[in-house]
């Protein structure tokens, strides 16, 4: 096999599974280490450079990092990455204004319009204002935050947390215009902005057109619209018996919100078995802890109306035949009427752009959604950019943030009349963590501790009002134990083949047998030589140059490595070294000449 090219930043990036899985590439192990050292503000700022909203995401992130976590491969639960983010946010200094990007007093003369004050637009503003742009944010509602405010209930995400983190961005000097819906793209284009960013989300909840829908309308609600009405105080109560249709994360928010508005019997009706649920496991657990009943294999058939009023819902009972995780056959076994007072539909949401005229030269696809470039986030109308859910449909906050970062780069290059596709590459910096003979500047000892459990407010206290936050956050002791569970995947095992004397010390000490020294043969033969079988083909595998003495090669299966440093400690010639990988993900400011003044994500090296 050919030697692995470790100069490609992707190789080491993939080893840091959490960072690779995070759309915004948050340097998780580094901020966890900072928490371990009690440097909460540093940890917060480091988070903010990637994901902009650490306090918010520390509560409600979709956590793509956790299923990816290496700890999960050691027969244990992943590190509570998301909740540790909250620890950094909860314990940061009161005033962090001196750590935020500097805003130049002299602007660059370019004006940007941002539509919708949600996470995508706010990220764009966050990236562009330090470069000198003037940003105007138009928001239809009375408060900024978009979906984060209207759809995520405050018992999961308290308003002060939102206000703080949105405030950091607005206080950079953004012109935030509330209660200011944009009704015509054409008019906005005529206002002379240098670029327009659309971050309006996916605001249209999906409808369920079944018999009785219109007659029962008074008691049938669209999930996201209903959540918004609750968030802004327009709806304050709901019937005693509530059915939620759908089993995504919005459904979980709907059922738990219902309980706080007076419902006593809440059922979530799912069409398919549990393995097919869209909601995150932890959101399902939280709902079930509040005694929400989740009923599987019930497909809605009609709304039951008596005397012009909704009294229940009729379902088909379905059985599925499942092979290899896929439904191959289904059959209806019966029908049942479930009585209820209200039904909330939470079966998905769509983009909707009734306010964009179709004669502007902007191309729309077959689903009537604007065509958006996946790298530049530009629509086919130059100067108009999309991001967040409005770009490629509903995803989540952390994806919207990454869209915002990328769109900001495009907007900057557009305004400077530069090619949008010529973007800076990701940079990799490796620095040794060796402190002495057997000392490393990180906690390398494997800690077998189990994941700490997040404490919740007592059930009896929880439903008193809508704003009581359910999760209490980690205590100092919990945080201290949880940080030690991180395996420090960013401290990379770097191999120097010219130093190796082939003494086998690293192979013998490796607790997971992830290293092999073998004659260099083709891939199939080489895989059969590995000391531990290669179970995950998606994980990177390192193959060295031929070694000096025997021309064999060193092979490392990154899937299994615990980053315990024992290979490097046992190496007599320092052919293995433990080096911190630091990735530099370019932002708008790095594309400008302001990058000396602004705070770039990678000021620290080594």
């Amino acid at each position: 096999m050919k030697p692995t090219n470790v100069n490609n930043p992707d190789y080491f990036h993939k080893v840091v599974d959490c960072q690779w899985a995070c759309p915004a590439h948050t340097d998780v192990p580094e901020y966890i280490r900072k928490i371990a050292q009690g440097e909460f503000t540093d940890a917060y700022i480091q988070n903010r450079e990637s994901n902009v909203f650490p306090g918010i995401l520390g509560r409600v992130c979709d956590r793509p990092c956790e299923p990816a976590c290496r700890r999960g491969r050691t027969n244990e639960s992943p590190v509570a990455i998301c909740r540790l983010k909250r620890v950094a946010a909860d314990h940061r200094d009161e005033d962090i204004s001196d750590r935020l990007p500097l805003i130049p007093s002299k602007k660059n003369g370019k004006k940007i319009a941002l539509i919708g004050a949600g996470c995508a637009s706010l990220t764009v503003a966050n990236d562009l204002m330090p470069v000198g742009y003037e940003c105007t944010i138009f928001e239809a509602l009375a408060e900024p935050g978009g979906l984060m405010r209207s759809n995520i209930p405050s018992f999961r995400l308290p308003a002060p947390v939102l206000n703080d983190e949105i405030g950091y961005i607005v206080d950079m000097g953004a012109d935030l215009r509330l209660n200011h819906p944009i009704e015509s793209m054409k008019d906005l284009l005529n206002e002379g902005y240098d670029a327009i960013f659309v971050g309006t989300g996916a605001p249209k909840g999906k409808e369920l057109k079944l018999p009785g829908r219109e007659e029962g309308n008074a008691n049938i609600h669209i999930g996201i619209t209903w959540l918004e009405s609750v968030a802004f105080g327009h709806v304050e109560k709901i019937g005693k018996r509530v059915l939620i249709i759908g089993v995504g994360n919005t459904a979980m928010d709907c059922c738990r919100t219902s309980l706080r508005l007076g419902a006593e019997d809440v059922k979530v009706m799912a069409r398919k078995p549990r393995d097919f649920f869209k909601a995150s496991d932890w959101e399902l657990e939280d709902a079930e802890e509040e005694n929400v009943e989740i009923i599987v294999n019930h497909s809605p058939k009609e709304f039951v109306i008596e005397n012009g009023r909704l009294t229940g819902m009729k379902f088909k009972q379905v059985e599925y035949e499942i092979e290899h995780g896929r439904i191959v056959h289904q059959m209806t076994t019966g029908e049942i009427i479930v009585p209820c007072d209200d039904v909330i539909l939470a079966i998905g949401q769509d983009n909707a752009f009734p306010w964009i005229e179709r004669d502007l030269g902007m191309e729309f696809d077959q689903w009537d959604v604007p065509v958006v470039d996946k790298t530049t986030f530009e629509s086919t109308l130059p100067g108009v950019f999309f991001g967040g859910d409005s770009a490629f449909g509903p995803k989540n906050i952390i994806w919207a943030v990454e869209h915002g970062h990328q769109a900001a780069i495009s907007i900057h290059r557009h305004c400077q009349a530069e090619d949008l596709t010529e973007r800076l590459p990701v940079l990799l910096n490796l620095g040794s963590r060796k402190m002495g003979m057997h000392e490393w500047s990180y906690s390398n000892d494997f800690d077998p501790a189990a994941r700490r459990k997040m404490e919740h407010v007592e059930l009896s206290q929880r439903f008193k009002d809508l704003t009581t936050e359910v999760e209490l956050g980690f205590t100092a002791e919990q945080a201290q134990q949880e940080v030690e569970r991180c395996l420090n995947c960013d401290i990379q095992t770097v191999f120097f083949d010219d130093l190796c004397i082939e003494c086998d010390a690293c192979l013998d000490i490796c607790p997971t047998r992830c290293l092999t020294m073998t004659p260099n043969v083709d891939k199939v033969d080489l895989l059969s030589q590995l000391k531990a079988p290669r179970r995950n083909q998606d994980q990177p595998m390192f193959v060295s140059e031929p070694l000096k003495q025997t021309k064999r090669v060193m092979v490392k299966d990154e899937n299994l490595c615990l980053h315990c440093s024992l290979c490097a400690e046992r190496c007599p010639t320092a052919a293995w070294d433990m080096q911190k990988s630091l990735f530099k993900f370019p932002r708008a400011i790095d594309h400008s000449d302001k990058h000396q003044n602004g705070k770039s994500p990678c000021q620290k090296t080594g």
């Binding site: 000392e439 086998d504 010390a505 013998d508 000490i509 607790p511 024992l566 007599p572």
Partner: protein, 351 residues
């Protein structure tokens, strides 16, 4: 050495052997030898061999004397019995242990100083008595614990780390063992794991004193240009005289070899050793032929490895003394100690 313990971790893919143990059940405490020491490689080979042979740890006795090599029994099979004896006296303790309990699997680990200098006499007599044990000599050519003086196995003309030339001829443990009347003499290299594991297994199964000299580079004092026990010198002059296949009892020999190219040695328990010749005409059962061959290769500076000599028919210590098949430790106290009357009777016979 390292400060943190090797993590004990269950990963999918870790296998157990026939008696349900993982390889880590055959490991010991973390080594405190220098990083890269050949001895640690040998320790790992012992762990692998004993795990593959499914030897119950409590059936093993591990013994050593003094020296870097003699530290290593702490690093493997922590569930075994053990004795760390006086410098060079490991063979006496082994003889006593095996006299007392002939059912144990005995592994003695010694070094070139422990066996070829201070314990040379002890080494010779354990070989001569054919004590049923695996006698490993971890051979690095220097006294590592006392900062790298030449040992008795250092080759004449080889250079120390400070540049001094060795003036004395070396003692070769393999030819010494053969000329002492030994029944099993082999040499290997810590950097050749495959061969080493096979020879350890063969030595454990051999019914007698199996001397296994392993070239084990000292990375701190003897891994420099001019050394003849370094990783690179050993690899450059590496010369396997024959390849050994270990065939456990009740297993068929699958590979067929042309006549004259291989010899099968069958041990008492049914284990077969298939010796494949790398050098034509090499016969590991011909004592004088082997000694002549070793002398020739020594003149050429080759590091000859493999199961160089074997005679599994030579009687071991218990056979020579015609002792009981029942281990001595299983006898009742009265049987072993017939009392003062019987002693007086015995003494009277000698008056």
């Amino acid at each position: 050495m390292t400060y943190i313990a090797k993590p004990k971790i269950d990963l999918p893919g870790h296998r157990t052997n026939e008696i349900g143990l993982y390889t880590r059940d055959y490991e010991g405490v973390l080594s405190t030898l220098c990083a890269g020491c050949g001895h640690d490689s040998i320790t790992a080979a012992i762990v692998q061999a004993f795990w593959e042979m499914s030897v119950p740890p409590e059936k093993v006795v591990k013994l050593s004397g003094i020296g870097c090599s003699s530290k290593t029994p702490a690093y493997f099979i922590s569930g075994a019995h053990g004795f760390n004896s006086v410098h060079g006296r490991m063979p006496s303790v082994a003889t006593g242990a095996m006299a007392g309990n002939r059912d144990l699997v005995c592994i003695g680990v010694s070094g070139d100083g422990d066996s070829l200098s201070i314990g040379f006499g002890q080494f010779g007599h354990a070989v001569r008595r054919n004590v049923n044990m695996l006698y490993i000599i971890e051979n690095n050519g220097v006294y590592g614990l006392t900062k790298g003086q030449f040992s008795a196995s250092a080759d004449k003309g080889s250079k120390s780390k400070r540049g001094n030339i060795n003036q004395w001829k070396n003692i070769d443990s393999v030819s010494t063992a053969i000329s002492m009347g030994g029944s099993f003499a082999a040499r290997s290299f810590s950097g050749d794991r495959e061969q080493l594991v096979t020879l350890i297994k063969a030595g454990v199964k051999h019914p007698g004193c199996a001397v296994l000299d392993v070239v084990s580079p000292c990375v701190t004092f003897n891994n420099h240009p001019g050394s003849t026990k370094s990783y690179s010198y050993t690899r450059d002059h590496y010369h396997p005289a024959l390849q050994t296949d270990f065939v456990p009892p009740a297993t068929e020999i699958r590979t067929a070899y042309a006549e004259g190219e291989s010899t099968v040695v069958e041990l008492h328990d049914g284990t077969k050793l298939l010796l494949k010749k790398a050098d034509s005409g090499y016969d590991a059962t011909n004592r004088s032929g082997v000694l002549r061959y070793l002398e020739q290769q020594r003149a050429r500076g080759e590091v000859v490895t493999g199961l160089l000599f074997i005679n599994s028919e030579l009687p071991d210590m218990h056979k020579i003394y015609d002792t009981s098949n029942k281990p001595m430790k299983d006898f009742e106290f009265e049987q072993l100690n017939p009392g003062s009357e019987a002693l007086a009777k015995l003494q009277n016979r000698m008056r």
